[in-house]
Subunit: 372 residues, 2 copies
């Protein structure tokens, strides 16, 4: 990945307005030297800070200890193994131990430097240690920048269900330095593009069209437009979260477009090691086909346009043929968004508009999964 | 313990006003048959419910499955070992498993039937499974009725610190059936009286005087006045929590009178198996002596009145002589309420009024602990 050119950011700050829990997402590049001041302004009285990273992002986290030290923080860095399996009670206990060793008090921030796994785990530790510590998100993957670092969802996995254990805990601030993308493996970067496509389908037809226009450059991470695309995704996410912080009205659920299928693919297909965005990409294709099958979709060009765009980003467009259909259906009925085992999906009506559809017949879903 | 006579409740409902998180504490006796209706009214659409009890309270929890079944709930009962050591990640994982087996969805209530340990653990499971399930508290000890079941604090222990891991998660309702006290061992009942005394000292001089008048009857659990005392304590707790739900302004901290010392006694003196209220009783005596030593106390009769009342309830009035003073001090500096290791205490000024005192010199605290 090539770093994005500087000076192209249309927007360098997105505010998430949640009353007393409001916070800013700061976007820029090459901002390491300013990080200490950023955290100090958010937390004038803190004396200690725990950085959390994984094996891959420790090289991004370590330099942040310098400006933090200059800003008067005594820091420690906890490094977890990379990968989804770190979202466990065991790794959570390790973070609790690190906070204890640091003599953390209620003002000690947890600073998550990494992708979704680091953010979810460190965020849940922050949500629960001392009944809640301040959380700072430093997302270093495209996926985390546009999605998981914003909105306050934190979680670990149950042996039989992804994100089954968690809490809503909004960060005090989000720090997006696009220089961090330079070290990201290209497959992970493209996985993040799946969530970017998602925002276009659910809420922003213009964004979708921009992605179509710039697909070849975006595919390779060379697009100078990338930073403004990230900011645009953050703004959409902020708007949705502002209106439905705790996922109560159904609005926030639209962010899960492609995810009911996607989560099932991640569980049943665990051995195939798909990335989250890859599962979501195939999940969005299943969802758009389901919408068409149910007569919910009004724009018949959407399935092919979505497929073409996902293909342009080298993303999978269907589940793997050897995944067991009944196992996938069972996993979907266990989904957190399911109620009493009923299947519920976010389905597109047209480009930029989706709805929550309840009571989808099992037979229809099965048919979608069988058509591979 | 003899059941309290019926028909003596001055008050059968205390409302905790917390905006969208408001709830009622319902008080009465012999109310088991009405329990299903109570839960159904709170949760019209739930299909399943998980009861949590310990080895001692399972005999109180099991009968509740009947009215719950009649109200249309499919129930499961999870039984944890009795005692503080159950507030662990291991037991937490067992409750997550039980919820998974029940096919819990976001409407499934967790119903905690027991004392503080059951309430804290089950409450934390409810706070974190699926990012939050409804919680119903059925406190069965005096301590839980007047304190831990109200206010939304949930927690488990870290190997080196009590309640270090937790969340604020308000219940949907609290169900206090004083018939449940009939099976409570007398030592546990008296431990609960320590928290009742606490309410008098921090906020309600009249309550303290009522306790003094009825001490002999209360000591043996025969006082017909007990139900109205429980309601009065719940009302005080509700008022404090309403004004400082997340322990931010310092007001809620007054509920921790005696607890900074008390928690240290529980940690350092773990081998002596004091009950929580016993540690709080000795802690309140240390706190009142510290207030006197620092010149903070304005009413010189309070130490002896408080001591006399605690003695009347067979509660300890000082820490055990073999507990190491430096270990106690270290434990206090680790307390959740400590900030950057500074010692902070809730100290009485006069009967019914306490304040939060910061920066208490270590030497003064040491002196209080040495005077045994």
């Amino acid at each position: 990945m090539t770093p994005v050119p500087s000076g192209e950011l249309a927007e360098d700050r997105v505010t998430v307005r949640l009353g007393p829990r409001s916070y800013d997402i700061v976007l820029g590049r090459g901002m390491t030297a300013q990080f200490g001041l950023f955290v100090r302004e958010l937390l004038p009285q803190s004396q200690t800070a725990l950085l959390v990273a994984d094996e891959h992002t420790r090289k991004l986290a370590a330099p942040l200890t310098v400006p933090l030290g200059e800003a008067g923080f005594r820091t420690a860095l906890a490094v977890i193994p990379a990968g989804e399996q770190s979202k466990s009670l065991e790794q959570l206990a390790r973070l609790y131990d690190a906070l204890y060793e640091l003599k953390a008090d209620r003002r000690t921030p947890v600073i998550a430097v990494g992708g979704g796994v680091v953010g979810d785990l460190a965020g849940f530790a922050a949500a629960t240690y001392n009944r809640g510590l301040p959380l700072i998100m430093v997302p270093t993957t495209l996926l985390a920048m546009v999605d998981s670092s914003v909105g306050g969802k934190t979680a670990i996995n149950h042996p039989r269900g992804k994100n089954l254990i968690g809490a809503f805990h909004q960060p005090k601030g989000v720090w997006i330095d696009t220089d961090h993308l330079a070290t990201l493996p290209v497959r992970e970067y493209r996985s993040g593009l799946a969530e970017v496509v998602k925002y276009g389908v659910i809420r922003d037809a213009e964004l979708f069209e921009i992605l179509e226009c710039h697909a070849p450059a975006l595919r390779n991470g060379h697009a100078s437009i990338l930073p403004s695309i990230i900011a645009r995704c953050c703004r959409i996410k902020a708007e949705v979260v502002e209106q439905d912080e705790y996922e109560e009205t159904g609005l926030r659920a639209i962010l899960n477009y492609g995810h009911t299928f996607g989560h099932a693919f991640e569980i049943v297909g665990a051995a195939d090691h798909w990335l989250h965005g890859e599962a979501v990409a195939a999940g969005m294709m299943c969802a758009v086909r389901l919408a068409q099958r149910l007569g919910y979709l009004e724009d018949d060009s959407l399935p092919s346009r979505q497929e073409q765009l996902l293909r342009a980003f080298d993303l999978p467009i269907r589940p793997l043929p050897h995944w067991d259909v009944e196992a996938l259906l069972a996993a979907m009925q266990r989904d957190k968004k399911a109620t009493a085992g009923r299947l519920r999906f976010v389905l597109p009506r047209c480009l930029g508009e989706v709805g929550l559809v309840d009571h989808v017949p099992l037979a229809e879903v099965r048919q979608i999964l069988c058509d591979r």
